[in-house]
């Protein structure tokens, strides 16, 4: 409890600096390059086109799902993956990236994952606007189900910010952990049903296990808004499992924080 109080207190006290650091992080990521901001879009566009091509003409499948062409079905889940993959790897590396905040001045370490998350969220929001635009120009107009987008976004932010706190603390202790996360990320991508429809899995057991994966929950959630037209409370069992996983993640993050916060400056 004391740890939660410390972390929340630090966020309140340093709120304006957190915002500025988030802003600086976005600017820094893209301003050095000649093409600047367009890089935020180039990567998703290239990846989506390549995967769409591979899945439509190369691998089997790629048939329309729920009456939506495969590429339209793919996009909402894929876009959420960009935020999630960034948070998995860069989130884990954020304390190392902002080493100077830890070792050279007094700064609350717990807020580093937060502003990192905010910076990635800004890019995510821009990409989401483009997704909405794509759906509108292909004749799929907004309906009431779109209203739950912020809900899934919130779930995603909560889980991955907690993850980033946990992982960045461990990664600060040891590069091995960071390397482990980086090598597992690609596996998570293929296991989480970003590229394929998890509803097509026949085995109920495997379906059930899949719901313990927050990446799956978020990607499917985004598709619930755009494709499947399902409310989140209609899948209460999935929500319950996600909440449990989220709570476990938060507890892990708090445990890591409490255990490691005083050692981090000594080892970086």
């Amino acid at each position: 409890m004391g740890t939660i109080k410390t972390i929340v207190g630090e966020h309140v006290e340093w709120r304006s600096q957190i915002l500025k650091l988030a802003k600086a992080d976005i600017i820094k990521t893209y301003s050095g390059a000649a093409l600047g901001w367009s890089w935020a879009l180039v990567r998703p566009v290239i990846m989506i086109s390549v995967f769409w091509f591979a899945f439509t003409y190369g691998l089997r499948g790629g048939k329309p799902i729920e009456g939506f062409p495969f590429i339209l079905w793919m996009i909402p889940g894929f876009i959420s993956w960009f935020y999630m993959s960034d948070m998995l790897t860069q989130g884990a590396g954020c304390i190392r990236k902002y080493k100077f905040l830890v070792t050279k001045m007094k700064f609350p370490v717990s807020t580093i994952p937060t502003f990192m998350s905010m910076s990635k969220l800004a890019i995510h929001l821009v990409l989401m606007c483009i997704v909405v635009f794509i759906f509108v120009i292909t004749g799929h107009f907004p309906d009431v189900y779109w209203l739950q987008l912020p809900f899934y976004m919130l779930c995603m932010i909560a889980f991955f910010t907690a993850w980033a706190l946990f992982a960045s603390l461990l990664a600060a202790m040891s590069v091995d952990f960071l390397n482990l996360v980086k090598s597992v990320t690609q596996a998570i991508f293929w296991l989480s049903g970003i590229m394929w429809d998890i509803n097509r899995i026949n085995s109920p057991k495997i379906q059930f296990i899949m719901h313990f994966n927050p990446v799956t929950y978020v990607a499917t959630g985004y598709r619930n808004c755009f494709i499947y037209k399902v409310w989140f409370w209609e899948q209460a069992d999935r929500l319950a499992i996600f909440v449990i996983v989220l709570i476990v993640m938060i507890i892990l993050a708090l445990w890591a924080y409490k255990k490691l916060i005083k050692e981090i400056p000594d080892v970086l």
């Binding site: 600096q17 830890v102 070792t103 000594d266």
Partner: protein, 247 residues
């Protein structure tokens, strides 16, 4: 003005570093208590008080624990046991060439640092020209810090730290930056803010002449222990007996 207020207080402060064989061992140690490590006692039961407006030099050989003490003063590192009380805005210049975001320009870094020290943008804008001029960076100020030479980084670091109106200034070796002219300017500026603004200065150096110039009090450290604490001239005599003393 109450110039007798205690601004820094260390009470029986001890700092132990845990040394593991490698990174992997350190990661395992997070989960298991059985991983073996060596302990290094960097600071051993140190107590002292520093009052507002004092200028204190920490003298000692490499590994005596001076830098660890400065880090704890900056609240960057935490003591293993003991208490530390700090009262006032601390501006620290630890290790010359770091403390900046390498990808950002010098100017952005000035703003970032200012914001992190809790200044408003309007206040930083007021100080901006002074800092740029002081650091002698001219057009380089709008280049990313990673392109700077170590001297340039140190000058910028010094210019920022000293100009953001600190109440406690902590300096680690940094005054030996740049050429003669710049050093002279630094010295003047440090002396100026000590006298005018009643700033407290804590200074770590190997250079005895520099310690003598800035500080009135000297603390000598040896192997993590505080072995001498008195007037600067006596401290220097204790640390470096006259036979071998420079200057």
């Amino acid at each position: 003005m109450d110039s007798n207020k205690v601004v820094i207080e260390f009470k029986n402060v001890t700092k132990r570093y845990k040394l593991y064989k490698n990174d992997k061992q350190r990661l395992f140690a997070v989960f298991s208590k059985r991983v073996k490590y060596k302990e290094k006692l960097a600071v051993n039961d140190v107590s002292f008080q520093i009052r507002q407006g004092e200028s204190v030099a920490f003298l000692g050989k490499n590994g005596a624990g001076k830098s660890t003490i400065l880090k704890m003063m900056t609240e960057v590192a935490f003591p293993t046991s003991g208490e530390i009380m700090i009262d006032g805005r601390v501006s620290a210049l630890l290790e010359l060439s770091s403390g900046f975001d390498m990808e950002m320009t010098g100017r952005d870094n000035i703003y970032l640092k200012g914001q992190l020290y809790g200044l408003k943008n309007s206040e930083i804008a007021e100080l901006e020209d002074t800092i740029v001029e002081f650091a002698e960076l001219d057009e380089y100020i709008d280049q990313p810090v990673r392109t700077y030479s170590s001297g340039m980084r140190a000058r910028l670091g010094f210019a920022v730290s000293i100009n953001i109106r600190p109440e406690i200034l902590i300096v680690d070796e940094a005054l030996s930056v740049g050429d003669k002219e710049f050093r002279k300017k630094c010295r003047q500026k440090v002396n100026e803010i000590i006298e005018k603004n009643n700033v407290t200065l804590v200074f770590v150096t190997h250079s005895i002449s520099m310690a003598k110039e800035f500080c009135k009090r000297g603390i000598v450290m040896k192997k993590g222990k505080l072995v001498y604490d008195s007037d600067i001239n006596d401290a220097i005599k204790f640390y470096d007996p006259p036979k071998t003393a420079k200057k």
